[in-house]
Amino acid sequence: GVSQLTLPRSYTRPRRRSLAHRSASRSGALTLWTCVLLVSGPAAESSLTPGEEMNGSGNLMDFLDEPFPDVGTYEDFHTIDWLREKSRDTDRHRKITSKSKESIWEFVKSLLDAWSGWVVMLLIGLLSGTLAGVIDLAVDWMTDLKEGVCLSAFWYSHEQCCWTSNETTFDNRDKCPQWQTWSELMTGHTQGAGGYLLNYFLYIVWALFFSFLAVSLVRVFAPYACGSGIPEIKTILSGFIIRGYLGKWTLLIKTVTLVLAVSSGLSLGKEGPLVHVACCCGNLFCSLFSKYSKNEGKRREVLSAAAAAGVSVAFGAPIGGVLFSLEEVSYYFPLKTLWRSFFAALVAAFTLRSINPFGNSRLVLFYVEYHTPWYMAELVPFILLGVFGGLWGTLFIRGNIAWCRRRKTTQLGKYPVLEVIVVTGITAILAFPNPYTRRSTSELISELFNDCGALESSQLCDYVNDPNMTRPLDDIPDRPAGPGVYTALWQLALALIFKIIITIFTFGMKIPSGLFIPSMAVGAIAGRIVGIAVEQMAYHHHDWIIFKNWCRPGADCVTPGLYAMVGAAACLGGVTRMTVSLVVIMFELTGGLEYIVPLMAAAVTSKWVADAFGKEGIYEAHIQLNGYPFLDVKDEFTHRTLATDVMRPRRGEPPLAVLTQDSTTVEDVEALIKETDYNGFPVVVSRESERLIGFVQRRDLILAIKNARQKQDGVVSNSVVYFTEDAPQLPASNPQPLKLRRILNLSPFTVTDHTPMETVVDIFRKLGLRQCLVTRSGRLLGIITKKDVLRHMAQMMNQDPESIMFN
């Protein structure tokens, strides 16, 4: 039945009419349902409409009808009212608790309501894990498709194809007759310029094909599926509404095009988009339970947990995922969400493990597990790597923001498809010749993280082995580098320069793109180069003072793989400014608790160096670029301005648009709504006394007047609108007055004009306000909205205040 919510402080809503045609939930055949879902996606995505009349049997047709907006919903690109959502949820809970004492069935219902949160978490974990497994397997296959195909079973990637073959040799572990490159398949030549050129050409063709498909699908079906998603999710979690951003079509297209984008060889990763995918799953399951679908505040709790599950499957790091959600993505993170996020992250990790995409029950491609110790003197190169990470982070953020700004404002933005194709073409042309950029970035990082034992045959591990050596596997002493290592070093240096430059232009294009993997690749390459340099210096100059104490000849002192890990952590920290979550993710990736100190040293150094140049990480920078109304909790406001300096109206502006308690007519209200575009109006006793009664939202006003004109008799333009309990005394000849007390918020937040802005910013942040009224000795002076606060903060930081675009 209709749930009648009664709010305290007389913040009531009009009784919801029983509209039989609602968008959610009717009976129907499965095929028709999925078919309808495909063609009418966002019709069912109006998961933000409350008041669904769940009668249990309606018709399928109602599902397809346009959703009717109700009082209490929010408009697109507006901020929610956190306090109202919280009080609605408290009322709902109180009603359930009071009813649960009536009968056993009500008690069971209250238990089910309490457990619905856990059920949602379970479903989110299952679906995120499944989707991540699908994405991993598909990327594995499609990346190899650029180079060749498996003849015995076309669905196998290179490694899977050669899995059972016995023709792999020690030196050529990848070769087997079942898998052939395209030039082998087409012409039969494997060696020589002809074969190489044909492979090169087909590699470029496949890369262009994949990226063209990706950008076309995004453009035609779900434009919100492009980019990383994390800046927008941060803004959504702080209370902003972007309709369709977490919808079903966005979910489908993001999953499909993410595979295409990563497989096309572009310098991007899939971690950020996986967070978006997981949040879409969260939104999807929220719509099944009215507890979450009708309440925007509760929904955001679920989304925080879903973000944790997304990072958990991306890295195989459940704890890191929860910390990432807590530190980077979420805005309000109550402790209850912590436990539930952990549960969702664990379920997602288990689901991914059971799908087993990498064949070894590992979760991530570059899971390494060595335990060679590190030495105190090595902290110097680790800190140097941290400095490099910080500098690279600054360079990347500045370059990327400049490029994205250019895309936003100039002609470049008018050709998104062409831009994607050109960047893919350049990437493919430059990446193919270098064996370290030809393969996928994940494989590159995996190879760089690996330690070189006696069993590796790659070029990077071409050390000069002592033929008489009899030591066991994991205690190989430091060896001099063979020629292969030197070749690998300069190839890696070229790869480093290439990746640094191309990632700046890739991140932010109109395809799903993440930047965790490219940052880690840059850091890993730099780290490995430094590691090999230190290793060779320690070997050849073991009598120098710095090496004498800790590195004796014949001992295994330096592990270049560890340097690669530290470099990766430093670069990732420099770009995103993550702290705790970064260290936890890195040590969950490696399984080595003994490496926490180097990782922390590098992360801290890179954060300090990067913060010296600019306060924002990449996500905050993108939020600022787009002008989202995001009030960052990390910023400190230390200026001495007062509320009067920020409030509207300023001197010279038209006076505040107010409604009076019982002397405004319907016509006046409609004129006010038409002439101004304010989101709400204060209600005062009268224009002379200007004492504040309450605040009324524009949307509620519009709907209430529209309802009244349609439903109530006698309401005409001259009818007086009153907000008091009893109708005002009017002569009998006047038309029937209209009571609108129900939509009035009788407890708007007010501050006095001498309140310091520091306190006002704190109030906005902690309570999630949208606007705050300014009074002096009880009389209304003005209003401060969130947009005004953000503009003021931007002005104080010497940034452009006009860049804040949304309310």
């Binding site: 346009e66 089910l112 669905w155 498909l213 927008e232 499909v256 099944l288 799908i355």
Partner: protein, 195 residues
Amino acid sequence: MVYETVTNPRYQLFSFACFLMMLSTAEVTGAKNSEDIRCKCICPPYKDVFGKIYKQNVSLKDCNCLHVVEPMPVEGKDVEAYCLRCECKYEERSSGTIKLTIIIYLSILGLLILYMVYLTLVEPALKRRLFGHSQLIQSDDDLGDQQPFANAHDVLSHSRSRPNVLNKVEHAQQRWKRQVQEQRKSVFDRHVVLS
């Protein structure tokens, strides 16, 4: 309320679909093809023996150098030294899962591509032929509008008033197209969201 949710047919349908999906995944991962397990031993070069990789389909307890390395390239007392350097790893994979995943992914991708081709190329051509000149005049007015779904509004106005299934589906589809067009305007044209 939870009660309504539980009796909600859509919820029941959805949970049933989820259950089926999980069952099929479990079934696929449960079946262990004999080809799907292997023990891989990598033995580096030793004295004058070249490095080699040995693979065999043995179970976990037999995954060691003595069982897998056949024929043993060294004699007698060298065997122990040789085997010490070898690293043997037990690996499992699920070929059924890989096949199922790739085929499902390719079919979804294929369907989306077909639908995209239909929406961008076939449907405008059909509509133009059906509605003739009046449509042409209107499409001339939106000169710069090369995007798909440009005729969403027009089609809505031409639809018949009979409330049947197909009509409703058509309406829903047009509404979806309008929403996507709005999204496309904010992302691609005005660059308001998502830079």
